[in-house]
Every structure is written in structure tokens, then in C-alpha cells.
């Protein structure tokens, strides 16, 4: 455990210095995010009638928050493995005896800081282009549960993506497909109640819909399709199961890589 934490600390220091300080990654990343968000949020304002837009702004902000969470899990955590593959250092990481999870843990503080600032920027963009969002906590328990389940699901999701990168050597199209489809098809962007019936079914089959539903419910944006208690219980069980299964999958891919060697990573 001490070794794991020491490795994670080294990853954190290296990542913080190289990505955020030396490469000015934070400044460029926020600028890029602000511009991309504006591309999608500004046209959404063409759908909105004048008047009270507070609830709509809250819905857009939560959708953006969930989408940002998937983006962070994709590009900070899962893509870290692709980066290690591209640099040709993954074999050294494995040979050093340091577990791959130390890289995930080491980047969590940077990712959390980045996510918080990015969410602040998203708030500003939504406020300017749609209106000030309402932020009322209707159900604190559901809010805590929603945030916790979301973290578990994100970690599991990044394990699966990371495993896929190691299996294929390239994951550009796979990652892009998953990172776009997931928030759309699973109720991350819009409430499940606002989705067509077949999509609702798909959304509830995945573990991703439950945290988003709980978050929206806890902030009074929309009601859950299932009973809130059921959503909480099923969400807890499904998130935990998903994390266990994804950890097994990642472990399997690491073992497979040790048998077959490391795949060459493609640029896209």
C-alpha cells in the first residue's frame, strides 16, 4: 500500500509539472473546453423560448456536468494508458512492479481540480447564453448517492476503456464512439423521463443512468422514472458490480499483455 501511494505521488508530481505547469495544459484546456461548450450550448438557446429559463439552465448544467465527468474519465484516466503506450514506457511501468492503478490514483487530484474549474466555466457559459441556473438541494441523500455512484461508474468506465486500449493498441474510434454515445443513450444529458420509450429501456440496462437520474432528482430538475428508493438501491448495486467486473477485465488485459507483449499504439 505504501509503495502504491509512493508511485501515485510520483505520478501526480510528474503529471502536474509536465501537463499543467510546463505545457500550460490548464489554460489551453479550459480555453478549448469553453469554446467547444459554446459550440453546443449556444445553438441550444435557439430552441428556448423567452421567460423563466432557470430550470432549463439547471438541466443543461447537470447534463454538461455528467458529460464533463465522462470526458475526464476518458481523456485523463483511460487515455493515460494510451499515452504510456505511445511513449513506449508502459513496459517499464509494469517491469518496475508499480501497479497501473497508481497512475489512475495519481491523476485523480489533478482531474478533480480540473473538473471543478471546468464546471465553473460551464456554469458561466450556461448563465451567459441561457440564464442563471437554480441550484436547490431537494434530497441531500440522493445527491450524495448520485455523486458517489457517478465516481464508481466513471472509474469502472475508465478501466474498461483502458483495457480496450491495451487490447487493441488503438482506441480512437472506440473511445470517441463510447464517450459520445454513452451520455446520450443513457440519460446523462437529458432526463430518462424525457427520452423515447426504447431509449429509456436501453438507459436503464446500463449502470450509467442511475447516478445521473439521482443527481437530477436531488436538485429538483426532474423526477426519476423508477421510484427514487429503487433507483438508489439498484444504482448502488449496479455501480459496485460494474466496478468489480471492470477491474477483472483490466486485470485480464494486463495479464494477456504480459503473455503476448505490448501492442503498438496508433496516433488516432
Amino acid at each position: 500500500m505504501r509503495e502504491l501511494l509512493r508511485s501515485a505521488k510520483a505520478v501526480l508530481a510528474a503529471y502536474f509539472v509536465s501537463e499543467l505547469v510546463r505545457s500550460k495544459g490548464l489554460v489551453y484546456g479550459l480555453l478549448s473546453l469553453g469554446v467547444w461548450l459554446s459550440i453546443f450550448v449556444v445553438p441550444a438557446s435557439l430552441f428556448v423560448e423567452g421567460g423563466d429559463t432557470g430550470l432549463l439552465a439547471t438541466g443543461v448544467l447537470i447534463g454538461t456536468a455528467v458529460f464533463l465527468a465522462y470526458s475526464t474519465a476518458t481523456w485523463d484516466w483511460a487515455m493515460l494508458l494510451r499515452w504510456l503506450l505511445q511513449l513506449g514506457v508502459l513496459e517499464y511501468v509494469i517491469a518496475s512492479g508499480s501497479p497501473i492503478t497508481s497512475h489512475y490514483i495519481g491523476t485523480i487530484p489533478v482531474s478533480a481540480a480540473w473538473y471543478t474549474i471546468a464546471l465553473g466555466l460551464a456554469y458561466l457559459i450556461v448563465r451567459v447564453f441561457i440564464g442563471p441556473p437554480y441550484l436547490n438541494i431537494v434530497d441531500p441523500v440522493a445527491l450524495i448517492a448520485g455523486v458517489s455512484f457517478l465516481l464508481l461508474v466513471l472509474l469502472a468506465y475508465s478501466f474498461i476503456l483502458g483495457g480496450s486500449v491495451m487490447a487493441a493498441g488503438t482506441a480512437g474510434p472506440v473511445v470517441e464512439f463510447l464517450s459520445w454515445i454513452l451520455p446520450i443513450a443513457t440519460g446523462g444529458l437529458v432526463p430518462v423521463s424525457a427520452m423515447p420509450q426504447p431509449l429509456r429501456f436501453v438507459a436503464y440496462l446500463t449502470p450509467f443512468s442511475y447516478p445521473a437520474e439521482l443527481l437530477r432528482y436531488s436538485l429538483g430538475v426532474s423526477r426519476t422514472v423508477l421510484d427514487p428508493g429503487t433507483t438508489l438501491v439498484v444504482g448502488a448495486a449496479y455501480s459496485a458490480l460494474f466496478l468489480v467486473l471492470s477491474a477483472v477485465y483490466l486485470r485480464y488485459q494486463v495479464n494477456k499483455m504480459l503473455r503476448e507483449g505490448i501492442k503498438t499504439a496508433a496516433l488516432i
Binding site: L31, E49, V60, F177
Partner: protein, 258 residues
């Protein structure tokens, strides 16, 4: 050209994603829009139903981006692959190299139009949709052509000033797309943004495309806009030549990173 196509067809998952992307972004925009508002409000404001507007916008996004990306990212790819020294030392002039880059993508862009714009337009408008689709694809090719000098000038100037930084490109690229007005009609923009947008050659083509889709196009407006687009494209050409020369000189002076 053949290398680009063989690369595209060899990687089937990439090909599938290439065709699926406009549909995905359209679905994203529509679901987002329908969740926060109503398609009726959109139709009243813009003049056409959001499905047609967004599929054309998404097609433009990818048809322009596929070309601009090729130009702006290529120096970084070449540096990472280790082929940059060969390109700089090649007898082909650097400017010719960059001018020829979008050519293979024109066919890919046309294919994208056939898979994204035509089905939706024909389904919504019948035979008229076929003509609108043809106009959209043709104008998107003109749009990408007139964008090449500016995209090359910006990309290579950035590389000359700050090194091969993908981070700066990641900011500039979407910013150019916003100013071009792909998802937001130019005639609804605030005047300062409209003014900045007017300096972008593809913005004029995009406006013509959107006016055709909405049914607001007049021959005079089309001619003026297209003339402006071509004129701006020609005006930015010396900047493209200068930036290519400056970048080449810098590479020869400081060398290529390995």
C-alpha cells in the same frame, strides 16, 4: 491520394465512425435542444426544422474539419512519426505540399455528403432535397478550398511562434468553427461576431448554404457571398506562403525534435 484512401478503407472502424459522426452530433444537438426547449421555437427563429439545419451543420463541421485537421495536425503527426525531416528536405515545395493536402479529402467529403445530407434532405423534401443536397456538398467543397490558405497560415504561424503545440491548435480549431457559424446562422449573430465572421472565407459559403436550406437565398446574395469568400481566400494566400517559408526556415535553423 491513394495512401489516404487505403488508410481510410483499411481501418474499418474509423470508416464507420467517419460516416456515423454527422448523425451522432446531429442526435446530440437535437436531444440537447429538445430537452431544453422546443423544435417549434427553433423553426420560428431559424426558418427551417432543426433536423435539416443540424444535419447540414454537422456535415459542414466534419467536411471542413477533415480538411482543416489534415493541414493543422499534419506537422505534429509528421514530427511524432519522424517523417518531418524528409518532408522539409523533399524537393517538393512546402506550399505545394500543403495546397495538395485537402485534395484527397474532397472525395471523402463528397461521400460524407451522400451518406449524411442526401438521405435526410430527400426524405424531408423529395426531389428538391436532392438539389439542395447537391448545392450543400458543392458549396462545402468551395468552403474548404477557400479555407485552406487561412488554415495553413494560422497553423504554420502558430508552429513557428510556439513550436508544434497540439494544445494551441485544440483552441484555435473550434474557435474557427464558431466564427464560421456552422450551428448558428450568421444572420442571427451579434454584430461584433458577425464582423469577425466576415473575415473568414468559409463563413460566407456557410451562410449561402444555410440560406439555401432555409429558403432565403437570392442570386445576388449568393454571388456577393461567394465572391467575398474567393476574394478572402486569395487575400490570405500570401500569408500562407510567408508562414510556410518562415516555418521551413525555422526547422532548418533549429532542427526537428526527435
Amino acid at each position: 491520394m491513394l495512401l489516404v484512401y487505403s488508410d481510410l478503407f483499411r481501418r474499418k472502424s474509423l470508416l464507420v465512425m467517419f460516416v456515423a459522426w454527422p448523425y451522432l452530433t446531429t442526435a446530440f444537438m437535437l436531444i440537447f435542444g429538445y430537452a431544453v426547449g422546443s423544435p417549434r421555437v427553433f423553426t420560428e427563429r431559424v426558418g427551417v426544422d432543426p433536423i435539416q439545419f443540424m444535419i447540414v451543420g454537422s456535415y459542414l463541421l466534419f467536411s471542413i474539419m477533415t480538411i482543416v485537421d489534415d493541414i493543422m495536425w499534419r506537422p505534429i503527426y509528421d514530427e511524432q512519426l519522424g517523417t518531418l525531416p524528409y518532408i522539409v528536405s523533399s524537393p517538393t515545395r512546402l506550399i505545394t505540399h500543403y495546397l495538395s493536402m485537402p485534395v484527397p479529402r474532397f472525395v471523402a467529403s463528397t461521400v460524407l455528403g451522400a451518406t449524411a445530407v442526401f438521405p435526410v434532405m430527400v426524405f424531408s423534401r423529395g426531389l428538391e432535397g436532392l438539389l439542395v443536397g447537391l448545392a450543400v456538398v458543392l458549396l462545402s467543397l468551395i468552403s474548404a478550398t477557400v479555407f485552406t490558405p487561412l488554415a495553413t497560415a494560422i497553423g504554420l504561424s502558430l508552429y513557428t511562434l510556439g513550436g508544434e503545440s497540439w494544445r494551441a491548435i485544440n483552441v484555435i480549431r473550434p474557435l474557427l468553427l464558431i466564427v464560421t457559424g456552422i450551428y448558428y446562422p450568421r444572420w442571427l449573430m451579434q454584430w461584433p461576431l458577425y464582423l469577425v465572421s466576415s473575415l473568414m472565407p468559409p463563413a460566407h459559403c456557410v451562410e449561402v448554404i444555410q440560406r439555401i436550406v432555409v429558403g432565403l437565398a437570392e442570386t445576388y446574395t449568393i454571388l456577393v457571398s461567394l465572391t467575398l469568400a474567393v476574394l478572402l481566400g486569395v487575400l490570405y494566400s500570401p500569408a500562407m506562403a510567408r508562414s510556410a517559408t518562415a516555418w521551413e526556415k525555422k526547422k532548418l535553423r533549429v532542427g526537428v525534435k526527435t
